[in-house]
Structure formats: structure tokens, C-alpha cells
């Protein structure tokens, strides 16, 4: 059983297009320069409809995490218990991305012992190899491996 692929909407599509190039980018308001996530049509701060996508360093910290156990969807159950984390980005701490801490970009979801995870731990983004259709997912590596 495969893992679930993201189903992008119009607002989120650029994130996944940049991810396919191995770039972690976040939507910024072109008028007031505030970042926003999840992506949306206009800026909640200044109501501008002009936006761009700024490249992030990929560095961040674990804001929180869970360790799911069954019952789960079959594709995930085979890796359980695995971790799911929320990472706050170094450049924009209010921008928090859900992801997985793994031993290497293409290592399985259960490749890091959950006991090694701590809130506040430094992580960096790495992108999975492209699959059919070019999809690449950001994963997270512990800075202190």
C-alpha cells in the first residue's frame, strides 16, 4: 500500500511545484511582506492579492510531534509506530510544516527512533527522490544525527 500523495488545491500548487525542484518555498505578501501558511488568495494582514514564494533555508525546530500507532491506513500501519512532526521554520517561526523526521530523505517513516525526538530539536529539510509525475516531499533530518 502506498502512502497518500498530496492533493494540491490552486493556492497550494506552487508549494508542490517548487518542492519538485527541491526548493522549500513559502508564500509571502508582495505588498506587506508577511509570510502566510497555508497558502491563500489574499493577505490576511493587508488584503493584497499579490504574492510571491520565498525560498527558505530549510532549517527549523520541532514544535511538537506525535507517534501514531494502529489502527491506521495500511500504507502507514506497516511503518507504525512512526513520527509525525510540526516544524517551525527558522526564518518564519509562525510558519509550521507537518512532516516526518527520517534518517535520510528517502528512508522509511520509521527510520528514526521516536525516543530521539525532542521539542526544540533542530532539523533541516531534505526532499525525497522524484516519483512518477515529479512529486517530491519535504522530509526532515535531525541536525545532530
Amino acid at each position: 500500500m502506498a502512502l497518500l500523495d498530496p492533493v494540491p488545491d490552486d493556492d497550494g500548487a506552487p508549494f508542490w511545484e517548487y518542492a519538485a525542484r527541491g526548493e522549500l518555498r513559502v508564500q509571502y505578501c508582495a505588498a506587506c511582506d508577511e509570510p502566510r501558511f497555508p497558502p491563500r488568495p489574499c493577505c490576511p494582514h493587508c488584503q493584497s492579492f499579490d504574492s510571491g514564494w520565498r525560498r527558505m533555508s530549510g532549517r527549523g525546530r520541532i514544535w511538537s510531534f506525535v507517534v501514531p500507532h494502529p489502527p491506521l491506513l495500511p500504507g502507514y500501519a506497516e511503518f507504525a509506530p512512526y513520527n509525525a512532526v510540526v516544524v517551525e521554520l527558522a526564518e518564519a517561526p509562525r510558519i509550521r510544516l507537518v512532516g516526518n523526521v527520517v534518517a535520510a530523505a528517502d528512508a522509511p517513516l520509521d527510520s528514526v527512533d521516536p525516543a530521539r525526538l525532542r521539542i526544540g530539536a533542530a532539523v533541516k529539510a531534505a526532499f525525497t527522490e522524484a516519483r512518477d509525475g515529479g512529486l517530491r516531499l519535504p522530509r526532515w533530518l535531525l541536525e545532530r544525527a
Binding site: V66, P71, R96, I119
Partner: protein, 382 residues
């Protein structure tokens, strides 16, 4: 401006049995609960002219009205966000009745979640959460989504699993007094809690609500009409809905203060129109799909300060005789998980003096809907 304060009252409540599996359809169960509620009120089905329900409900007012023999219906409403809408059904009916749009309102919930499919297993639909940002990474179930907030809460405020156990235990103790509860004859110990299987660390089995088949209903009428009904009226003193600025349902990770959820917004509105405050609440029925929602809600509704919700649960505060007796029929954790509607009916029983875990001379009750999603709440008084 004439408001909704005490303008309407719950005149009747009804329910079916609660079980892991009931043989009848959701439509049949709904009709049984509604006709029981009308009988409790002493009001004929032909007088019903308003309906309110909330999403994740499979029955609808056309089928229900036809089946029970309702009259011409002039108000119907369906509130979004699943369990966040339970109390809003009463708010919508109250507004309709107080403004003359209808006279006899029915709110209901019928659900076969015990024997039916788990909603998160459906991978074909985008859930109301922004699934592209969460589900591919294995954040699949409500327990995972709330578990994420729970761990952050524990980290920020020093809350422990013992605090979550206090919540699970209070609900279980009340269920052990309630023959209608699924966990009536199933006591819970700290050892059972601490050694139970994980669902999504930091949440274990007993931090999660039950899976239940069952249906419930309420009948709402004007305060004047309620005084002529069979039972002692239970007045809707204050009502509120809450969708906070920059809130994201369930996966509320993307704003400045993710741990201040919809409860805070609903609470500000609720207390603004009430004649009393949190310190005057005799008993509370707080939405408990997961144990960590209780400390968050205790803070949000103003029973304690920010970060003090876990400590509030200490010393038996949530038990009968404690500072705030909680979920006195057992709640979603131990009576039945029917998206919080059993919290409403139990609030009514407390103020009628007919609960199986009666708080002596209870006169005020807070009932809340799902925290972590756009929510709602009501203050009931006798």
C-alpha cells in the same frame, strides 16, 4: 435590544440505547429519539415546525419530518464542523423561536459510528482540514491532530499524563453511576490507564472517546410555552458560536497562539450575555472527544488561567463534590460518543434534578461543543 437570554427553554429530551452496534438504521434511531423527546415534553409531533442538526449527520429534516409527522416546517438549519455544532443547534433554534420564525424546534443527532466506518479511513475526500499539508505525512486521524497540540501543551505548561488520567477517570466514574452508559460496569484504574496501548503518543486508548451507535434529541420552545409543558423548563441562558481569527480546524498549528482555540472565542461571547460567570457554574458538560480538550476548555471558558487547566484537574476537582463536576453522565469518553449531544441532554437532567450522578441543587450548567474545531456552547439554568 431583546436578546436570547432565557427566552427559550428545553422542554423535552429523548434518546435511544447506546451500544457498539444497534440493529436499527440511523433514520429509525433518530425518529425514536425525537418522538421520545416530544413525549417527554408533552408536545405533539404535528406541532414541530423547526429543525436543527449539525454536519456528519446522515439523516435530514425532509425524511425525519415526514416520518415523525411534523407539521409545516418554517425553519431548518444545519451547522458545520461536526462536533463543534452540537450546541449551535440550540442557538439556531432559539434565535428562530425568539424571532417568531417557528414555535417548536427539534435538534437531534443520530449516528452509527460504533458499527459504521471511521471517517478518517475515507481517502477519497478532502476532509475539511487542509489535508494536503497533513495527511501525506501520516497525520491521519483526529487523535493524531489533537495529539500534536496535546504534546505542545504538556511541554509548555508542565502537564502530565496524570492530568489527562484525571479527566478520563472523572468521566469513567460518572459512567459507572449511569446504567445507560457504555462503560457503566467498567471501572478504570490508574494502572489500566498507564499501561494501555498507545493510539497516538502522547495519547493512549483511554484518552480517546468511545465509538457508539445511538441517537438523541431535544425539544426547544419559548420560555412561556415551556412553563406549560410536562417537565421543569431548562432555560437557554446564553448561547455562542466561535470561529477564532486565523483558526484552522483540528490542525490549528498555523497561527500565533495555537493553544488558544475556539473555546476562547465562544466563551467571550457566552459570558458577555450572561448574568453569571464561570465561578457560578454548578456543573459542566465539556466536549471530550479527547482528554486534552478538557484542560484547554477549562482555560478557554475561564474556569482557570492560561496554562492552569491541567493543574485544575488535581485533587478531585472534576468529581462530584469537587470544584467543577464534569460530564456527569460519563461524556464522550465513557457514556457514548455521539458528537457531544449527550452532554446537552445530561445538562438538562442535572437542572431537572434527575441525573444518575446528581450535583446537589445544581442550577447552572455549561455545555460545550467540540474544541479544536469551530465550536459552540450554551449556558443552561433552571
Amino acid at each position: 435590544m431583546p436578546g436570547l437570554k432565557d427566552a427559550t427553554a428545553i422542554a423535552g429530551i429523548g434518546q435511544t440505547a447506546f451500544a457498539k452496534q444497534l440493529p436499527e438504521s440511523e433514520k429509525t434511531l433518530a425518529c425514536r429519539a425525537i418522538t421520545a423527546a416530544l413525549d417527554d415534553a408533552g408536545i405533539a409531533a404535528s406541532e414541530v415546525d423547526a429543525f436543527a442538526s449539525y454536519t456528519m449527520e446522515e439523516t435530514d429534516e425532509v425524511e425525519i419530518a415526514k416520518a415523525i409527522g411534523a407539521g409545516d416546517v418554517t425553519f431548518f438549519s444545519r451547522v458545520g464542523y461536526g462536533g463543534g455544532g452540537s450546541c449551535a443547534t440550540l442557538a439556531h433554534l432559539a434565535a428562530a423561536i425568539a424571532t417568531g420564525q417557528a414555535g417548536v424546534g427539534v435538534a437531534w443527532r443520530s449516528r452509527k459510528r460504533g458499527s459504521g466506518p471511521r471517517p478518517w479511513r475515507n481517502t477519497a475526500v478532502q476532509l475539511p482540514t487542509p489535508a494536503q499539508w497533513t495527511r501525506p505525512f501520516g497525520l491521519l486521524r483526529p487523535a493524531d491532530e489533537i495529539g500534536m497540540l496535546a504534546r505542545r501543551y504538556m511541554h509548555e505548561y508542565g502537564a502530565t499524563r496524570d492530568h489527562l488520567f484525571n479527566v478520563a477517570l472523572a468521566c469513567r466514574n460518572r459512567a459507572n453511576q449511569n446504567p445507560a452508559a457504555m462503560m457503566y460496569e467498567r471501572p478504570l484504574t490508574r494502572d489500566m490507564y498507564m499501561t494501555s496501548r498507545w493510539i497516538s503518543e502522547p495519547l493512549c486508548l483511554f484518552d480517546n472517546c468511545l465509538e457508539t451507535d445511538g441517537a438523541l434529541a431535544c425539544v426547544l420552545v419559548s420560555a412561556a410555552r415551556a412553563r406549560d409543558c410536562r417537565r421543569r423548563p431548562v432555560y437557554l441562558h446564553s448561547v455562542a458560536q466561535g470561529l477564532p481569527a486565523q483558526h484552522h480546524g483540528m490542525v490549528n498549528y498555523w497561527n500565533d497562539d495555537p493553544l488558544a482555540g475556539p473555546a476562547w472565542t465562544a466563551a467571550r461571547q457566552l459570558w458577555k450575555t450572561a448574568d453569571f460567570g464561570p465561578e457560578d457554574v454548578d456543573v459542566a458538560q465539556i466536549y471530550d472527544a479527547f482528554t486534552p480538550l478538557i484542560p484547554l476548555s477549562l482555560e478557554g471558558y475561564g474556569f482557570c488561567g492560561r496554562g492552569e487547566g491541567a493543574a485544575f484537574t488535581e485533587g478531585g476537582a472534576l468529581e462530584i463534590g469537587g470544584r467543577l463536576p464534569l460530564n456527569t453522565s460519563g461524556g464522550g469518553l465513557s457514556e457514548a460518543y455521539v458528537h457531544g449531544f449527550n452532554l446537552i441532554t445530561e445538562g438538562v437532567r442535572q437542572l431537572r434534578g434527575t441525573s444518575t450522578a446528581q450535583v446537589p441543587s445544581a442550577a447552572t450548567c455549561l455545555v460545550t461543543a467540540g474544541e479544536g474545531v469551530p465550536t459552540s456552547a450554551v449556558l443552561l439554568r433552571s
